[in-house]
């Protein structure tokens, strides 16, 4: 697409301001820069406009305008994504949903809530908390990330081990399709007739349209919660404990692993009570009925001990539990204590392959002269190796990218996946052939064409393509919301 002329931009700006008001359109390059990347600051691209609709009608009008002009558009929530999924790769329009952030309705009897896409994930749990409910998917960026963004990425979080990811909690979506038509997919009742368009839309990374209303399940808060910290002198012991707990028929709500390098960073930054000399720690949470909880916790403790844990203890109270979770959820921010920059990877492996793959990850990093910290959802086999580096050292960033690709290749080789929750976006589009055949990708492309025949809705994502339109590097910069301390990388 040829770039828009200044005159064209001016007239489009006027038209969009008439719709959204003066404050509803950004087009000054300085203002646009805030939106040039998401949480993965390795990639940047400038839009021509960032716009702030207040209603589904606004969104539909903007999408129709984009179609009329033939300009690409992409929806954006809080911009906490970690794969470049909401980047405007070819100029055009960024449609920010941040002004559509209301809880529209809560039906406690039927245990559903209807929300707008710009609602911050945690704010939904806050809204329904007083009635004893919560929204289960809990990405670590949940203080900042939006439900609409969660829909795009099918986001997970620590507690998805027991409760499932976003797609397991969404019943219906009001959607502006890529041609501007407003339709409902699914609804408030289950088992909508026809193809499972909701299931298809969730996780489509913004390429099937823009959700403007979302019907989610809300869950009753569990009666009881128990949090156990198990400390190991060897990483392999911790990995084996994960399998042992599963093998004993337990389904913890969460089972997270934190390695030594990460523990040191966390303790330097926050002092959360993790032992600095441990090779690895497991943070294990059980929830559910109070009856039998002690017996289950005992089974967990015993499994950890049998695998060689040197210390296993339960959080004594809510304060200690909160502190342990703070250490886990803030780990990414804490890497700043031990490294000027890091790149977070996201791969999935069968959990029984943990010891082997963690060994390979360390070997790959070492071969590239890099250090790696691991903090991840061990129960799901969802790895987050964080490669530490110094962007001021020439060539180091290229080595990080190369090591990242090799790590994902290992995940694929053991039967895993190249993304557990961060999505493919721009970052991993070229890695898709690691796990999908040409026929698989062709089928996905056909489904995409059914939703998005003109290809204007978030182009250049997911499918292998060249990245010529996107600036890579030159150096890591913290995302604005990270600087404000609103979010951590996960």
């Amino acid at each position: 697409m040829p770039p828009l002329t200044d005159a064209r931009k001016k007239s489009l700006r006027r038209e969009m301001e008439a719709l959204l008001g003066k404050g509803g359109v950004l087009s000054d390059p300085e203002e646009l820069m805030v939106y040039e990347s998401d949480g993965l600051t390795l990639f940047r691209a400038l839009a021509d406009f960032v716009v702030f609709p207040r209603s589904a009608g606004d969104v539909a009008a903007l999408v129709k305008l984009a179609n009329r002009e033939g300009i690409p558009f992409v929806a954006r929530g809080a911009g906490t994504g970690l794969s470049g999924g909401c980047l405007p790769t070819e100029g055009g329009l960024v449609i920010s949903l941040m002004r559509m952030n209301r809880v529209l309705e809560v039906d406690y009897d039927n245990q559903i809530a209807v929300v707008e896409p710009g609602l911050v994930n945690l704010h939904l749990s806050w809204a329904v908390g007083p009635q004893g409910f919560y929204y289960a998917p809990d990405p670590s960026s949940q203080q900042a990330c939006t439900i609409g963004g969660n829909i795009a990425n099918n986001s997970g979080g620590p507690h998805t081990l027991k409760y499932g990811v976003t797609t397991n909690h969404v019943l219906g979506l009001e959607v502006v399709l890529p041609d501007g038509e407003l339709v409902w997919l699914g609804g408030r009742t289950r088992d909508a007739q026809g193809y499972d368009l909701v299931g298809l839309f969730v996780g489509s990374e913004g390429t099937f349209g823009i959700a403007t209303k979302i019907v989610v399940r809300i869950l009753k808060k569990p009666q009881a919660v128990k949090t156990v910290l198990a400390v190991f002198d060897q990483v392999d012991q911790a990995s084996e404990a994960v399998s042992a707990i599963i093998a004993r028929g337990l389904v913890p709500a969460a089972m997270e692993m934190i390695d030594q390098l990460t523990i040191e960073a966390v303790e330097d930054a926050f002092g959360c009570g993790y032992p600095r000399d441990a090779a690895a720690a497991l943070l294990i949470e059980l929830d559910g009925l109070a009856a039998g909880m002690a017996a289950q916790a005992e089974r967990v403790v015993q499994a950890c001990r049998d695998c060689g844990a040197r210390d296993v203890r339960e959080a004594r109270d809510e304060a200690e539990r909160a502190l342990l979770w703070k250490g886990r959820k803030s780990a990414f921010g804490a890497y700043g204590r031990v490294s000027p920059a890091y790149m977070v990877m996201d791969g999935v492996i069968p959990r029984t392959k943990l010891p082997y793959v963690l060994g390979r990850v360390n070997a790959i990093a070492a071969a590239h002269g890099l250090r790696v910290g691991n903090v991840f959802h061990a129960g799901d086999g969802n790895l987050h190796p964080n490669i530490l580096y110094d962007p001021r050292k020439p060539g180091e960033e290229a080595r990080v990218v190369a090591a990242g690709g090799e790590i994902l290749k290992v995940c694929a080789e053991v039967g895993g996946s190249i993304s557990g929750e961060h999505g493919i976006g721009l970052e991993k589009a070229d890695y898709m052939p690691f796990i999908f055949s040409e026929a698989d990708l062709a089928c996905m492309q056909r489904v995409k064409d059914a939703f998005n025949p003109a290809g204007l809705c978030n182009p250049g994502k997911i499918f292998p393509t060249n990245k010529a339109c996107v600036e890579v590097g030159p150096a890591y910069r913290p995302h604005p919301i990270e600087e404000k301390g609103l979010a951590q990388r996960f």
Binding site: D191, G194, Y195, G249, P350
Partner: protein
Amino acid sequence: MPSALPDQLRRIVGAPHVLTGVECSPYVVEGRTPEAVVFPGSQEEVAAAVTLAAEQGLPVTPWGGGTKMWVGAPPSRIGLVLATKRLDRILEHEPGDLTVTVEAGLTFDRLQAELGQRGQWLSLDPPASDRATIGGILASDASGPRRHLYGTARDLVIGLTVIGADGRAVRGGGKVVKNVAGYDLPKLYIGSFGTLGIVVEATFRLRPRADVDRLVVARFDRLADAGQGARAVLGSDLIPSALELADGEALRRLGLGGAAALLLGLDGIAPQVDWQVDELERLLKSRGVVDQRVLDGDAREETWRALGALGRPGADTVAAVMRWALLPMQTAELMEAGAAAARRHGMGAAMTAHAGVGIVTAVLSGSADPGPVSATLEEWRSLVTAARGHAMVSWAPLAVKERVAVWDAPGPTLRLMRSIKERLDPRGILNPGRFVGGI
């Protein structure tokens, strides 16, 4: 050249695995007899058979255990029935990963028995599980009472392989429990009734088997009271794996008696189950409960099995079966209204519901005269539509299907569904005519 078809198929799968002529009679679909039935022994043979059919523009109807071939609109055309029963292997079960990969023709009970030996289970309880195959269960998105806690196939499938209309294998998802790489194609194929591809392989997430599993039957004098009981359970700390609401006629057929009841599945470790049984009693005491009893062992299994069988044709008295999707709190009221409507048409009705998720199975009985049967089904659909729910005829004789649409009138999303269908099956050979909007 149609006459060459059987020979061509025999070359692909071997002579013993092709049926023609009168041999096809057990594979008649809604009164239509296929030209041939083929039993491929491998995914490659499925692919070759579909490719052959595609070349000839011949429709392909997948057939698993044949337990749900009466679901959907009658096929617009029929050519080749592709039976998956020879694809019946468990390909991979790694207990430590809590995942299993199986071929589509494996029957559900056989898989469950194998998993049970390793202390695990696939947390799905579809009807007719002794004959129903994995592929058929996925294609029809079959589920049972335990979906209340454990969800349906869409929550349990982590990877799926289908043979598409062009004969090529397409895989979506993978073998790990968490995966957001690429579009979630398994969701598209689950519940698509074979109209987009033929399921040949699936990978599931599993759960450890519970130490203790009980079925609690709490009986009430009135269905409305049982409905309020369900509401109380949903608002409590209880975590039942199943929460079923049954009316008097359903209870009579189950041999349980009474005017209305809640049936709860409670599983877990012993202290959890014991506490919940006591808590349930406390909770329902002030809500008009008549009695509460706990079933275990064979009695428990037989009751669950019979409950699943209620909504299946076979018994002479079943005239039609409808499935409603409602909000959970609407179920009791609509069940009563539906039964009253049936009586007005001189018919009987037995109703059960997955009360926590709002799915009602409404079984119409009495006269086989298509007049009153159709009239009742239409009235049921009106009731459900007025409540902003959905209704589908899950079984009815052909004479009734000629009068009453199987599916609700599709809304504006039909355009999207057709667009997907046209792109994945441009010649319309995969199970044509059975699905929503004539897809």
